[in-house]
Structure formats: C-alpha cells, structure tokens
Symmetry: C2
Subunit: 447 residues, 2 copies
C-alpha cells in the first residue's frame, strides 16, 4: 500500500475524494468531512480524505487554499476526474451543463459519484445510470431530495420490497415557509415572499424555481422514478405554483377544516404514473398539515409497510452536507478498489405511461363572486351537473360589495377535464362576476 | 455454478435464506418473499430463495408444508444453522434463549443474520457483534425498532456523519393507542386498555410489556446504542409506565396546551447518556403530539442534519416483514459468497457512563388535592422553594368535594432528585390530602 490509499498515522485505508464546485454546499461538505473525520473513521474504519477540489472561481478561496495546502486546488474539473488516485467524485456545481459531462466522465473513469443535483437527476437519469452500470460503479444522490432527510436511501433499501402506490410530499421549504406565514401570521403572499427572500430562502431576483413548483417537480420526478421503477422526467410533472393563493383562500380553507400546502403527489394508478405539483387543501388534522415553516416531509404508501413519513430540514448547507457525506460513507464502507460494484443501480426497470392531468381525479375548492339574486346558484349548479361535477358542500359569504355574493364550493372527486370544462362554461354565465381561485383538495385518506 | 447458487430459469444468483421460528411475523416474511419475488429480483438482480424453515410446532403448519415441498421444514434450528448452502439466517423466535445461541451459532458459521428481536439486541448486542465481526459478517435488525419505519438503516448510513445529541420517540404503538383513546374519546385507562386488547394490540393476560414501558425501553436501548456509539442496555433505561395516567390528567394537560405521550428519550449530555421511558406532557403544537393511535415516530437531533423524524406503523406483521425483507435485500444486494464483509458492524466504539435519573433535569406536572384554606399554598411553595424547585405556573380547580382544592403545578426545569425530595416533604404536610400524579413535562424545544 502506498500513501495514497493508507493513512500514515492510523493505518486506516484512505478513501480519496475529489470535489467539483466549491460553493455554499461544498464548503459545508468540506468542513463536515474535516470536523467529523475522526468520528467517521471510528464508524467505518476508513479515512475520508479530500485530495482535490475544482472550482472556477479560486480567487475568492485564498484563505482556505492557504489553510489546506495538501489539497490540490484547480480551476479544471477534468483534472479531478482524470486523477487516478481519486475514488469518489462529488459534483456540487448544479445545473445540467457542464455537470452532466463531468458526472458521466467520472463514472466512465470508474469513479463513484455523489451529487446533490436535482435538475440533473430529474432530467438525465437514464444517461447517468447507463454510464454507472457500464463501469460497475454507482451514483448516489440523497441530497437531491429533502436536504438532510433520509428518503432515497430508505426507499432503495429498507423499503425496497414494497410496491409504492403513492407519494405525497412537501418538498419545497420556501413555499412551505411562505404558506405558513400567510396562515399563521395572516400575511399576504407578497409580504410572505419578501420575508422568505430576506431570510435567503427564496431568490431575490427570480424566485420562480420555488414559487412555480419547478424545484418540487424536479424532486418529485426523482422520487417517482425510484418509487414506481419507471423513468419520470421533470417535464412529465404537471405543475402549478402558489402565486395565486390569497389570504382569503387560506381563511376559507381553515373554516372548512383545511390548510393549504404545495404538494408533490405521485401515484401509480393501475400501471400509469400520475405526477403533479400543485397547491392543495389538506385536512388540518393530517400530519402533513403540521409541517410548518421551511420543513419538508415526504409520505409514502407501500403495500407492506403501509404509511411511512420522513420529516426534517429540506434545505440549508448543513443538512444537505449531512446527506452528501452520508452517501460518501455509504460508498466508502464497503469500497473495494479492486472489485467495484453497482450499489443500488437504476431502479427503472419498468416503462409506465404518464397519466395526463385531464384524466386525473380529485376534489376541488372553487371560489367565485356572483350576482346576489335569485336563480344564480341554480344556473351554476346546472353547469356543474351537466359536466358530471358533483358538489360536496357550498358556503355563501357576505361581502361588503353590494349585490355580490361570494360562493365557496368543495366538489366530490371529479375528473379534471370535467372540472376545466365546467369552469369555461361558468365563466360565460353573465351572473358570474369572477372566478377567484380553483385549488385541488386532497383528503389524504389512507389507502 | 450449481443449482444452489443460480436459478435454473432466470440465471440470476440465488440468495438462500433459512428462517428460524415460523409464527406471526415469519409467516408474513415468507409470504412477502414469495409474493414479491419477481419484483425484488428486478430490483437487485438476485433471487431471494427460502430453502429451510425451522419451527418447533410444525404440526400446525401442514397446509403450507404441503404447498412448499421444495423447502426443508424441520423442528431443529441447528439444521438451518449448519446448512452450508444457506447464506442468510432470519431469526424470528424472539426472546433471549435460545435465540442468542442460534444467532451466535449462525454468525460463527459465517452466515449473515436478520432479526426483529428487540429483547436480544437490547441485552446481548456485545456478544452478537463480536461474533459477527470475528466472522466478517453482520447482523441487521431494522425490524426491532419501529416495525416498518426505516430508522436504524438511516442512522447507520444517511445520517452517519452526525453526532446525535437527542432521540425522542413514540416507539410503543399499544400505549400510544391507549393514550389516544383516553384523549380523543374521553375514556378511562381501563376502558382504553380493554379496546387495545380487543384489537390485539395489547396482550390480554399480561399487558405489562407495553404498559410498563418494557417494550419501549428495549427499543430505546437499541437506538441509544447506535446514536451515541456506546452500549446502552435495557437495564440502563429509567422506566415508568402509563398505568397511573388518568382522564383528569389528560384534560388538565389539554387545558395547559399539552398532550400526554409515552416517550422514549435519549440524550448525550456532555458524554453521559441519559435514557428514560416515561409518560410526558408535550406541547400540542409539536409534531409528536399529532402521532395518534398505534403509530410510532422517532425524532433525532443531529449536529449537521438538525431535526429529522420518521413516522409509520410501529408494529404489525406486514410492516415488520417489510423491514425484515429490507434487511435481507440490503445484505443480498452486494453479497459475495467468497468475500464476506461486515456491512455496518457494531457502532459502540465509545463507552459513555449512564446518567442516573436523580441527576436528570426536566419540568414536572404535579396534581394534588389540598385543604381549601388560607396559608396552604404558602406551605407547599415553601417546600418547593427550599428544594430548589421553581414553579412556572399553578392552577387551582374547583372540586365538588367540600373544603378540598385541586392544585396543578407546572415546574421550571428542576433536578429530579430535588423534585423527589420536595414531594416526600409535601406529603408530610397535614394540609395535603393526596398527591394524585407527578408527570414529566417535555417542551421539546429544538436544540
């Protein structure tokens, strides 16, 4: 053994790690590995050893470079990938390009890869897993969903014998923070968004990735691919953001026993995959209703395990670093330089069609302002009835505006297509002044 | 390759499994492996193959023996252990003896072991892990805590880089069911226990294992050993059951914004391990308060991940089988007959002392009936004060009984020893008629 693979002082085998990208998360991964080095060595009997870091902007890293002179610092990611002594490449630059090239190149060099890159895994899983399997290595990506919460690992091991029929997740901390402020502090969407921006949860210039459900859709694509054993891409996910949710919606929902959350829902419906990210009214008594602030939670229904849920911090540098290093430990524990193996591999052995949102069935909350005169409700009810939309309950609210009544409908389970068609017709009724919002209702009844 | 290690039809490698004990859980493990065989094969590229079952009482199993003629059915567990073709032994007889002998013998024969046996793991971990390490194999026991909920796996992999400072769990479904009935349906302890017995949650003859917190203490010992990297035994756990909790306690707790749960709490306090199972008032707004019925949940605090919680069914044959087979899959995925390896091994590399309950600090709820006359409160308050017990709040309730007042105290954080001593003195006051209950209060503030 030479120095590259065995530690001079401890005699423990070294696992050499190269990091590509040295931003917010990577810095925390770096400090975790250094701070917890002895602790981790005691657990796994090996030393995690960062030997190289590639970062485009090394100028801003002078302090740390000076402190860690034994580490090879470079602006060229390919130097890390080509380094024969590196066992695990940690990709933390994010985005698709050039991350995809780096990841595939590292796998092709026979290195294991750990990433937190949800965009990449939600769009390029196929290419990546093919490269991993071809080279008898693997890519682990626990940090790509739910920050520090163990979700992907349990799905691939403890829960692996289950057919998963349903995923329901609160997987975006920023939108959950905003909805919590709106509900608990009676703030508007705009006020809450500003608070989220001030805290660094939401991006200041363009918060759409969170608000429009893009981040959540990436995570759902990843979870659905694993749960349903069929490749689900970001573009397969039906998506609505929370930008249209008002204080009033939240108050009315509360009156009806519901709270509003941005949900990521995936179901396997007789072999078709239904994946959607949208706000939904959920019962206040359901455990997901108690997930507040920037916390995340993911619910699974398995045919043996029943319901299981994981909860924790879905973002932030320390929780995310916890998952990245968890994956590194998972690889390092049973690492055999001379006999590399796929650990989990790709689980997408099936090829299930995606169900269109039109064919999805769920309940709806509909808020509309109408003329306050006799016969109006009959006209609206007729349109709903003609389109097979059955109403579970209706509340009429007093408004300050004269001659206008506010109606809140909750439907029974209806086909989304029928809902859309009835709304088109209702909008045409001259007694209807405005349809203020339409939000799905998920009763989350166990099944 | 011969038939023993490769499936004739699929060409996939066979992993041969022997089961010891064929009761309630084992039958479900058996049927899961048969029902999900193809699904599991697609995931892991290997066939799980039950080749032998040892069960003392084979007479009652005639139906299944007839159906599965290719399986070797025996009343002698040693035949399974000695069988050279078996790769994984699944121990499901429970209890210490003879389970310990079987497990150690199987490990000494170089077989991996999977068990759901919490008594065994909470008492004999040292011997078992020594045998596993000596033979380069491992024992997995996810099902011993929290039924189907992935807890041990995540602790040993995704969360492994964290120093865990605190565990808070609702780990006994039976007592949680009873407390839920008492709170939600306003039933007495006795009525709720009877319902739990009728549903098969609690044993009819001797429900003490649940009610007295024995089951929970076993599970806490296991979780604490892994979390704090130091062997914690069942006997190390301070233990109080729920038998003394009354409807009134629950109502008063509710009035104060609390709910009552049987908690398993483990903390690493400056290198000392504090482990205790007892009922506690917890804030109604805390997520653990929303864990109802027979569900379980375990909360961890890690120095990188922050708070994480897992929730699900903590018992039952199907969830437990899910975890047992999850462990089998975990072993089978990277199983190499010719190069066996410890997967996780024992994590107890430290040896931390156990903190005595007397030295524990927490808040208390104290319910007492006293003479309804001037000066009584002053006398009680003086005793508390003299013993450094500081009161956070006090409520006086009207009673129908003449000349008697009911007092409800909530203390600030106090040393348990001081609490005990003050209660001894308060009991001696002639104005105190009865101390009805003393229950710990856990505010579960994040840290």
């Amino acid at each position: 053994m030479n120095n590259n693979i065995s530690d001079k002082n401890t005699g423990l085998e070294k696992i050499n790690i190269g990091i590509i990208g040295f931003g917010y998360i990577a810095s925390q991964v770096f400090s975790l590995i250094h701070n917890q080095r002895d602790y981790i060595s005691k657990k796994i009997g090996k030393n995690l050893n960062i030997t190289a870091v590639a970062e485009k902007d090394l100028k801003t890293k002078k302090e740390i470079i000076k402190k860690y002179k034994n580490i090879y610092w470079t602006t060229d990611a390919n130097e890390v990938i080509e380094d024969e002594s590196i066992d695990i490449v940690v990709e933390l630059i994010g985005g698709i390009s050039p991350a995809l090239d780096y990841v595939v190149a590292a796998l092709n060099k026979g290195k294991y890869v750990v990433t937190a890159n949800k965009d990449l895994m939600a769009r390029k899983g196929k290419e990546i897993f093919e490269a991993a399997e071809k080279n008898n290595v693997d890519i682990l990506f626990e940090a790509s969903v739910g920050g520090g919460i163990p979700i992907i690992g349990p799905l691939k091991s403890s829960l692996a014998s289950n057919n998963i029929s349903k995923i329901v997740g609160i997987v975006n901390g920023t939108t959950n923070y905003i909805l919590t402020r709106m509900e608990d502090d009676n703030l508007s969407f705009e006020q809450s968004l500003k608070m989220a921006q001030d805290l660094g949860y939401a991006e200041r210039v363009n918060p759409d990735s969170d608000i429009e459900g893009i981040d959540a859709a990436n995570k759902l694509a990843i979870l659905a691919s694993i749960s349903f054993n069929s490749r689900v891409l970001f573009d397969d996910v039906y998506r609505e953001g929370i930008g249209k949710i008002t204080k009033e919606d939240i108050i009315y929902a509360n009156d009806l026993g519901y709270t509003i959350k941005l949900l990521a829902i995936g179901t396997d419906e007789d072999g078709k995959v239904n994946v959607r990210v949208h706000p939904a009214l959920i019962p206040k008594k359901h455990i997901l209703a108690s997930i507040k602030d920037a916390y995340n939670a993911v619910y699974f229904y398995g045919n043996y395990v029943g319901q299981v849920m994981s909860f924790g911090k879905g973002a932030g540098d320390k929780p995310t670093a916890s998952s990245v290093v968890g994956d590194i430990i998972n690889i390092a524990r049973n690492y055999d330089r001379n006999n590399k193996k796929v650990i989990y591999g790709c689980s997408c052995f099936d090829s299930k069609p995606i169900k269109h949102i039109n064919d999805t069935i769920n309940k709806f909350y509909i808020l509309m302002d109408v003329a306050d005169k006799p016969g109006v409700l009959a006209k609206i009810a007729k349109v709903f009835g003609d389109n097979s939309v059955s109403i579970q309950s209706m509340i009429q609210k007093q408004l300050d505006v004269k001659n206008t009544a506010r109606l809140i409908f909750i439907t029974h389970d209806v086909l989304n297509k029928n809902m859309y068609e009835s709304i088109v017709e209702i909008k045409k009724l001259n007694v209807v002044e405005d349809i203020l919002n339409i939000i799905r209702v998920e009763d989350l009844v166990n099944k």
